[in-house]
Amino acid sequence: MSAPLYGLILAGGLSARMQRDKAALTYLGKSQLDRVFELASRHLSKVFISVRAEQTEDPARAGKPQIVDTVAGGGPIVGIRSAFAQHPEAAWLVLACDLPFLTDRTLTHLLAARDPLRIATAYRSTHDGLPEPLCAIWEPAAAQALAAHQAAGRTCPRKFLIGSDTQLLEPLEPRALDNINTPEEYIDAGRALDAGPRAGSGSNPMHLKIQYYALLREQAGRSEETWETNAATPAAVYAELNARYRFTLAREQLRVAVNSEFSDWGRALRSGDALVFIPPVAGG
């Protein structure tokens, strides 16, 4: 049986590079902390914010269920360990508060992919392929090992996940886990969100070359075509094509290649890219 899953929004950081409280930064008229808290609350029945003792009465943080640091030290590990200490029965969906591009879709996919028998379930970073610890599910079995990790003088939650039995997921949307640390990144993120969900591709759709093989070729009724789209990733393109051709193969049964190399489903596409969706193979 899997442990109940609660949400933990990390809001105890020092925001050193931002030079002001990150939790209180606003996008589209709402504080960053409120946005992520509301997002998590749409998926989980219990969501807490992780705070330092001196932050409990802070206006941005008061009025929400809190988990106050009870473990000494610094960094996100302190908040995560404090949550395990307060609710040892629970697994935690740990979220940084500075994830302005996080979506319901990316959370839904993470929650559906949870493997409670592993130490954690996390996305791979679109930047370096390593685990993203601050949009991840941490199982209760992580608590003891995390304490040992910290006792050995290590504070990086990412290194902890790299060295643990972590289930890694390919990213679903290219920017969903981008966090913002500097005033410049904050300004850019605000502009992108103001511009709406299709920021980046804007009003200029991309032209992709799609090649079809085997069963997909037969079901599409063609070997290739040019596809005009604002879909940002191969996963989103397949969803569009599937809506049109009603393929009988689900995305989970396929692999994808971009420009003749295997690719992640979350890769950011560029106009001119050539995509091939690869049905289950049967060589030999």
Binding site: A214, R217, T248, E261, P279, G283
Partner: protein, 151 residues
């Protein structure tokens, strides 16, 4: 290129000849043949289709991996595409090595990886008139029938 496709019958003698090496003490090969039945159905013939640009790269990567894992001299793999009859040679793997053990092991590794990783698809045509893409159709049956009912 050490992995390649052939649209006509594979000449195993040419492949074997290309593996010869004065330092090699032996050679092992695997031949995959078109079988007249699969999963309870009588098969009449079949067709192979490949995404060649990627399969050629991935095929060479498999041969490189085999050379890194096992002390072998040379390795080759040839896969057919197009229409094949029962009994025809569908895939050939050949490995030469100093000793037989490595030749057998590398040969096994290569054919296993080729079957799992290369973007190659097989369509079987059955005696009963049906046809199907191997590994794709069974999972496809349910939604398609459901759709037919609606229509």
């Amino acid at each position: 290129m050490r992995f390649r496709f052939e649209a006509t019958a594979i000449d195993t003698n040419l492949g074997r000849h290309a593996l010869q090496d004065p330092a090699a003490g032996g050679y092992a090969s695997f031949e995959g043949w078109v079988r007249d039945h699969n999963e309870g159905l009588a098969v009449r013939r079949l067709e192979y289709e490949a995404y060649e640009a990627l399969a050629l790269k991935e095929g060479d990567r498999i041969l490189d991996e085999a050379a890194a894992r096992f002390p072998i001299s040379k390795a080759l793999c040839i896969h057919r595409i197009g229409a094949l009859a029962i009994g025809e040679l569908a895939v050939w793997v050949g490995v030469s090595a100093v000793h037989r053990g490595e030749a057998f092991d590398a040969c096994r590794y290569i054919i296993d990886e080729v079957k799992h990783r290369l973007p190659i698809w097989k369509k079987e045509y059955y005696e009963n008139g049906d046809s199907g893409w191997v590994n794709c159709e069974r999972c496809a049956t349910a939604p398609r029938h459901a759709h037919d009912h609606v229509a």
